[in-house]
Structures are given as C-alpha cells and as structure tokens.
Amino acid sequence: MSREELETHLSESLEKLEAATERMAKTQGYVVAETKKMRMLIELVKEQLRNEHTLSSASPVR
C-alpha cells in the first residue's frame, strides 16, 4: 500500500472515529471506559498521520 493510500484510509477512519466518539461522549460522557479507548484510538491514528510515533519525548506535540 502506498503512503497516499494509507493516509487516505487513516483519514477516513479518523472521521468515523471522531464522529462515533462524539456521539458516545454526548450520551455517556468521557468517564465511560469505551469513550476513553476511542479517544486513545483517535490519537493513535493521528500519530500515524503526523508520522509522530517516531518522534522523541521532547517533540513539540502535546
């Protein structure tokens, strides 16, 4: 799979994840375990899109 295809799939997934998480947070709130896990998934995807998983502890992303 090319980098462009990968990024397209990840971007589409990110949209779905964010929409699903927003619905979940509205009905159940953040404190529910599933909402926390969805948020973690979202950040894992964002890392891939930013090539961030390879950055060091001192990288500027917070």
Binding site: S13, V31, E34, R39, K46, E47, A58
Partner: protein, 491 residues
C-alpha cells in the same frame, strides 16, 4: 507494590529511561515493575534487568482494521481491548508516564485505578489533559528544540518519577559478543564512530566522517570501528577500505553495541541511539551536534564527554572534529570553542567559547527553581512584560466581575481574548516566552470542579502573571524616575 512505567517514544528515549528504571528498582527492591514500550522500539529493552515485565504496544495490530479499506472501528477497538487485558489484570499502585503524548495520557487514564498514584500526563474526568505533577508541567512548558531548558532529559524523567538518580543507575551489565563479532574487534585501543542517526540533519555525511577518520589515523596509532545500520553499510564501504578501520555497520543489533562501545577508548557520533548507549556504558563520547538537536537535553553523560556544535551538517569542520577527538583521547584541550560535560546531574554542560542567550534560561530558573529573576535593559522585553502585567490585571478584573455575577458573557469573552493575547506576546518576544508557556501550562492544570474553586485558581494565576510582569515594570519606572542630581562627581 506494582509500578507501571510508560515509555512510548523512540530508541534513544527508552535508553534514557534505563537509569530511572534502575533507580526505581534500587528504591523499591521488591516491587513488581512493568514497562510499556512500542513494539518497533522494543529492541532497546534487551539487557534491561530492572523490570519484571516488558509489554509492547502493537500499534500496527490495533490499527490494521482501520487501514484495510473498510475502516472497521469495532474491530480496531476489539484489538485494543484485547491488548489492554494484558495490563488491566494488574492493579497498579503507581503509573509513571514518561511519554508526554496524547496517546500515553489516555493509556494512563484507562489503566489507573481510584487509588493509583499517577506521575506524568493523564486525563481529567472531562477528558481534558491532566498534567499531574510539577515536573511534568515543567516538561510541558519548557522542554523541546525551540525552548530554553538546559536540564538533561534523563534527570527530568527522574524528577517526574520521583527518584533521585545516582551514578550507579547509569551502569549496565556486561554481555558477551558473539564470536563472529568479537574476533573482528581490534586488539589495540579503538574508537567507535557511529555513522548514522534517525535524521540526516543530526549527523555528518559519510564523506565527512571519512575525512575525520583519515585525519585521526594520521596522528593516532589506534583503530577505528564503524557502527551503524544496514543502510549506513551501503555507504560505509567508501570510507572503510583502509588500514585500521573495521566496518561493523549492519552487523550488530542494539544489545551487541553495548559490548562494542564499552570496550572503546571513545565514541564519536551525532545525536543517536549510540550516544545514549555510551552514557550507559560510561564511554567518553564526542557528540557532534547541530541546531536540529538540543544537546542540553539529549547529550552524552559519560565522564570526559564533549559536544562540538555546528549550525548544520554542511558546516561541520572535519579537521576540527578530528583535532577534538584526539584532544579528548589525550585528555587535553585544543583551545578552540567546545562544550564540556562537567556536572553529573541536571545542567551537565559548560560552554567554553560558545555563547547562548541566557535570559530565557535565567527566567526559566526563576519561575521554577527559586532563582533571582534576571535583569534586562532590552526595551522590547520590558514592553512585553508590561503587556503581561496589563493582561494579568485584566484577567483578575474579569474573574472578580464573574464572581460578583456581573456581565458573565462579556467577562468570559474577554478572558478568551486575554489567552490569545498572552500567546501573542510570547510569540513576539522570545525572552518572555518561558513566562507565557508557564502560564499556559498552569492554566491547563486547573481541572473540572466547583465553579468557585476554578475561579479562585484562575484568579491566582492571573495575579501571578501580573506580578511577574510588574517586576520589570517597577524596575523600569524606578530607573526612569531616579533623580540623578548629585550623583555625579563634583570637581
């Protein structure tokens, strides 16, 4: 006691965490210590004896259903749940998050129980970032390539973890090299040259290293051992075809590098994993560093180490590098600018002949370490502090207005704009940026709760911002108003 440590950054960060893990083991000899690292960087845990269990985060496995073309969110969540089960079976008394990332903050929050002591990033009950301890707040605000922190990352990790590091925490156990590698090592004294780095802006070109090696071998009777990845091996043949040069690029794994580097008289390289291994094997290291790296935070720690700094790899002077390496081996000085590793903890380096703007670092020390606030004669810096004073006071007034029940909507809107304006002041003046980042970090730490408590905490913070800025406004006013009559010499 069960302790979980998260280190989800790269190879170098995992190695820089080893001393903290050793310190945790030393201070908690019977604790059950677990470490989470990325699968891709798990090679940096081989030889780490301080932990009871290493758990790898399988990012590819978790995200695979999302990249297959049909974005199967449920399947991805199932994979994440399956992995989390491995960790959720243990009730952790302490979670130490040394990753400082959004992913790690959610992971910490998911795994923490009601009684778990957390250090590092986590999440509040409303999902916002929770910077739990003061050291992590310092990290959030002041650490990074475009900032002025001078404390080494390993020491900051120690502060977050709540351990005081000692020399013994930087030791590792010796391991045997496979015969095939051991027989290639020179019988005479040798230096190790690490050719590569994770980024080409963090090391010299192969040709430049070749020039350095040639100059060193002209005046030194020892040998040179080249190390690096398989990719470095593709270029190393251009420079290794000479006497007393042994090319091990592409032949060693990370654990084997410990033995190679431990036996060396010195190590030389850019900002790379080899440098951090050298800190653990206590091998004197000449770190050739560039503007893309902050050597204060990630430089070498072994006794006798030095840093030679250039703007970028194209500016690196091979003759100078070679001279410095020879001087380091002979424990002498060249007389040229150099950065010496002189302290054992905290701020490790002394600049000799190099200059770095001090004000921002001095301000950082004043904000966090009770040092005196630095003076300045810069009118732009004084003006920036005056703006912070005004914005701090405006913030206090809006909070009081809300507390009295007046114009809440207007006051809230003004408060939002104040945040933006404070940010702008920090962008316009590098000197005051540490104060702006301190303010932003501390504001982030005000979590959800009763409105009265939130208002009080926010008002206190705006007051502090105002007071810090006022130090410089008052000085300037006194300076302007001081009567200078009768101060001069009379004839």
């Amino acid at each position: 006691m069960n302790i979980l440590c998260l280190q989800l950054a790269r190879f170098g960060d995992v190695y820089q965490t080893w001393p903290v893990l050793n310190a945790l083991r030393r201070t908690h000899p019977t604790a059950n210590i677990h470490l989470v690292v990325r699968e891709r960087f798990s090679g940096a845990t081989v030889g780490l004896s301080a932990v009871n269990k290493i758990v790898t985060l399988p990012t590819e496995f978790i995200l695979r259903p999302l990249i297959s073309g049909h974005a199967r969110v449920e399947s991805s969540l199932q994979n994440l749940n399956a992995w989390l089960k491995e960790l959720q079976g243990t009730r952790y008394d302490q979670i130490i998050n040394l990753s400082f990332s959004p992913v790690s903050s959610y992971l910490t929050d998911i795994l923490a129980g009601p009684e778990t002591e957390i250090r590092g990033y986590s999440r509040f009950s409303d999902g916002f970032l929770n910077i739990v301890d003061d050291a992590s707040s310092y990290f959030y605000a002041q650490v990074g390539i475009d900032r002025s922190n001078r404390i080494h990352l390993t020491d900051l990790f120690g502060l977050v973890a709540g351990v005081e590091l000692c020399d013994g925490d930087f030791a590792t156990e010796a391991s045997l090299l496979p015969d095939a590698l051991a027989t290639q090592l020179p019988k005479c004294e040798y230096v190790v040259v690490h050719l590569g780095a994770s980024d080409k802006n963090k090391t010299c070109s192969i040709e430049k290293w070749g020039e350095v090696i040639e100059r060193v071998l002209e005046v030194w009777a020892g040998a040179v051992v080249l190390i690096g990845s398989a990719e470095d091996n593709r270029g190393s043949a251009r420079i290794s075809n000479r006497a007393r040069v042994i090319d091990l690029t592409g032949q060693t794994n990370l654990a084997e590098l410990f033995s190679v580097i431990r036996g060396a008289a010195a190590l030389i390289g850019g900002d790379s994993v080899a440098l951090h291994i050298g800190s653990l094997t206590k091998t004197a290291t000449l770190n050739v560093s560039f503007a893309a790296v902050r050597f204060w935070e990630t430089g070498p720690r072994a006794k006798g180490s030095r840093v030679l700094w250039f703007d970028d790899p194209s500016a690196a002077d091979a003759a100078r590098i070679a001279r410095e390496l020879i001087a380091m081996l002979q424990k002498t000085r060249t007389g040229h600018p150099i950065i010496l590793k002189e302290e054992d903890f905290g701020v490790l380096y002394s600049l000799v002949g190099y200059e770095e703007e001090d004000f921002a670092w001095s301000l950082t020390r004043a904000l966090y370490m009770s040092s005196a606030f630095p003076t300045t004669t810069s009118s732009s810096t004084i003006l920036a502090f005056q703006r912070l004073t005004e914005l701090g006071q405006l913030g206090v007034e809006q909070i009081r207005s809300i507390e009295k029940g007046k114009d809440n909507k207007l006051a809230t809107s003004i408060l939002d704009q104040i945040d933006d304006l404070v940010e702008q002041v920090g962008k316009l003046s590098e000197d005051v940026a540490p104060a702006v980042r301190w303010f932003r970090a501390e504001k982030t730490r005000i979590g959800p709760g009763e409105i009265e408590g939130i208002l009080q905490s926010t008002e206190r913070l705006f007051s502090k911002l105002r007071d810090i800025g006022q130090l410089y406004s008052i000085n300037q006013k006194l300076n302007d108003n001081l009567n200078r009559e009768n101060l001069t010499w009379k004839s």
